[in-house]
């Protein structure tokens, strides 16, 4: 009998167990030491020795872990989508200009405040203010890229157009930065480092709902994405509507990356690296396997990075962006050197 596509049930099982373990480890770590048993009790809403422990776990650590999971899987899925669409291993979730757009929005909010001489209320610098500025910025740049994308027929040109918009926005940010004060610059820098913490439950609900919408869109393009592996000509010859597949892919990526960037800043590297790590682990290009695999791997890696960033039992939290690259880059290099060949 014909051997069907390899089943990865056991691999997925192991990955899920790892995810759960890392998640618990992540929640147990932090500036305040809480015994493991008390953490579990807090999570299942049991009797906890100190009420403050429960508050820390439920209102600070758990939301942060959930954010890490959503950010990790969302960015990784977006990266995979972009790599398949552009058939380019260097494509990531930010090639559409989303991070540059978000940076522009936030830069105008923080750096431009003095430039325009406006007095801003504290709301402007709250999570919501930053999120709104980032969303508006992403939306603006993304719409520009999309408008250009509709005009061009060649998929590769979209990649270059996205890069060009990135350069444009960073030029504007440089000009804004040049006229800004040191404290404003620092505030902007902190935002650009990315952060997973400080999200309220309401913010997490918004983040999670848009994440789920994005994922649902992705599920419907698994089949055409697989046919795109043979190139656009073959995809068309198999009845795939390449243009609508392309558009859904772009919309899903914008939703996922846009909402994540709005709430947690431009988190680098994950979206580019996790698809590669997953492809090396699973050695497949089939999106039916790759998409869930990339989502789980993304969540695991993000949780690990966040655990490291907390510098266990210290009061400092390192910038998450530094950690993702610092630990991710060597892993990719090591995997590539060991396996020698990677297919995207």
């Amino acid at each position: 009998m014909v051997t069907a596509t390899k089943s990865y049930k056991s691999t997925f099982g192991i990955l899920l167990i790892i995810l759960l373990t890392i998640c618990l480890i992540n929640i147990s770590l932090g500036s305040v030491f809480i015994p493991f048993k008390q953490i579990i009790l807090s999570l299942i809403n049991g009797e906890v020795d100190k009420e403050s422990w429960k508050t820390i776990v439920l209102n600070y650590r758990l939301p942060k872990a959930i954010t890490a999971i959503i950010v990790g899987s969302g960015l990784s899925i977006s990266g995979l989508l972009m790599q398949t669409l552009f058939r380019n291993p260097l494509a990531g979730p930010f090639v559409l200009g989303i991070s540059s757009g978000a940076s522009l929005g936030v830069a105008i909010l923080i750096l431009g405040a003095s430039f325009f001489g406006a007095t801003l209320t504290s709301f402007a610098f709250s999570n919501w203010g930053l999120a709104i500025a980032a969303s508006l910025g992403s939306f603006l740049v993304l719409s520009a890229v999309m408008l250009a994308a509709v005009k061009v027929r060649n998929t590769m040109s979209i990649l270059i157009i996205g890069l060009m918009f990135g350069s444009l926005t960073s030029a504007i940010i440089s000009i804004l930065a040049y006229f800004s004060s040191a404290s404003q610059l620092q505030q902007y820098m902190f935002w650009s480092f990315g952060s997973l913490g400080n999200l309220s439950w309401l913010e997490i609900i918004v983040l999670a709902s848009i994440f789920i919408i994005g994922i649902l869109l992705v599920v419907f393009i698994i089949k055409p994405l697989n046919s795109l592996l043979l190139g656009e000509n073959y995809a068309v010859s198999m009845g795939v509507n390449v243009k609508s597949t392309r558009n859904i892919t772009l919309i899903a990526t914008s939703l996922l990356t846009g909402v994540i960037t709005a709430f947690s800043g431009p988190i680098a590297f994950i979206g580019l690296a996790v698809p590669h790590i997953t492809k090396l682990l699973f050695n497949t290009s089939n999106h039916k396997t790759l998409l869930p695999a990339v989502a789980i791997c993304g969540a695991i890696i993000m949780l690990i990075c966040d655990s490291i960033a907390q510098l266990p039992s210290s009061e400092f939290t390192l910038p998450i962006n530094a950690i993702t690259s610092l630990f991710g880059a060597p892993i990719i290099i090591w995997l590539l050197v060991r396996k020698r060949k990677v297919y995207y």
């Binding site: 419907f220 697989n226 592996l229 068309v236 009845g239 039916k288 297919y343």
Partner: protein, 261 residues
């Protein structure tokens, strides 16, 4: 009426070419093709004569400038993408983008026009895929990655993918461009076999003229002056082959049924 029904591909006064901003650039016009099912056709002509344009027009990748194309007596314009994918499958010359698809996955992709929204393979699909492997004698390659295959093996696998698509027409654009003589003959006889035994209509654009003369049921000849189609022997009888190359360097030898210098 009865005669019309037999033709799987029919064109009436078809004119092919490109539309640029102001004018139409006509590459060939007044093409009246009538092709019966189960035939292997070789499309011959020198480089740049418009073979690819003709194939692209027949497969609805580009529009005809004028005239109509009928597949199974249905106007090509009325076909949706999906209907067309169930009637006509393609094998391109271009190299596949890099990926780590297995040969099985690659051939199974041919079932896409027939599967549900997530691409679930039913037992029926599996049977058709298995048959495609059997017909192309590629079962042993099933679990390899496609990038591990030689050019000759890959070409057979691509034909298997087209077979899995289970269409009555298969169109191949220079399927033997990367192959040596052995694999070229191998591919041609495989295609001939698919046409005669499984009633597939096979259209091949090729530069292997001498081979095409020996193996094809029909030839389509494209030259700057005209387009001729017909049975190989008839075309030889009517001295049509000499018009293929308008140079003194190469001549068609009627008794050898081959081109000679």
């Amino acid at each position: 009426m009865k005669e019309a029904k037999k033709h799987i591909i029919k064109t009436t006064n078809l004119s092919i070419g490109y539309t640029s901003k102001k004018k139409n650039i006509v590459i060939a016009s007044d093409l009246n093709i009538k092709l019966e099912a189960g035939k292997m056709v070789c499309l011959l002509g020198k480089n740049g004569i418009g073979k690819s344009t003709l194939l692209r027009t027949l497969t609805k990748v580009q529009n005809a400038l004028d005239g109509d194309i009928y597949l199974n007596n249905q106007n090509l314009e009325k076909f949706s993408n999906l209907e067309l994918a169930k009637t006509l499958s393609l094998v391109f010359t271009e190299r596949l983008p890099e990926s780590s698809l297995t040969v099985f996955e690659l051939v199974a992709l041919g079932r896409q026009p027939h599967t549900n929204w997530i691409g679930y393979l039913t037992n029926e699909d599996m049977k058709i895929i298995q048959n495609a492997f059997k017909k192309t004698k590629t079962e042993h390659l099933m679990n390899s990655k496609f990038y591990e295959l030689s050019d000759g093996q890959l070409q057979r696998v691509m034909i298997a993918r087209a077979l899995a698509q289970n269409t009555s027409i298969i169109i191949l654009d220079e399927p033997t461009a990367h192959l040596d003589l052995h694999h070229t003959i191998n591919t041609f006889s495989l295609l001939k076999n698919l046409a005669s035994e499984f009633n597939k209509t096979i259209i091949i654009s090729t530069h292997e003229i001498n081979l095409a003369l020996q193996i094809a049921d029909e030839l389509w000849l494209m030259s700057p002056q005209k387009f001729v189609s017909g049975k190989t022997d008839t075309l030889i009888c009517n001295n049509e082959l000499n018009s293929l190359f308008d140079s003194d360097l190469i001549k068609f030898n009627k008794s050898l049924k081959q081109f000679t210098i």
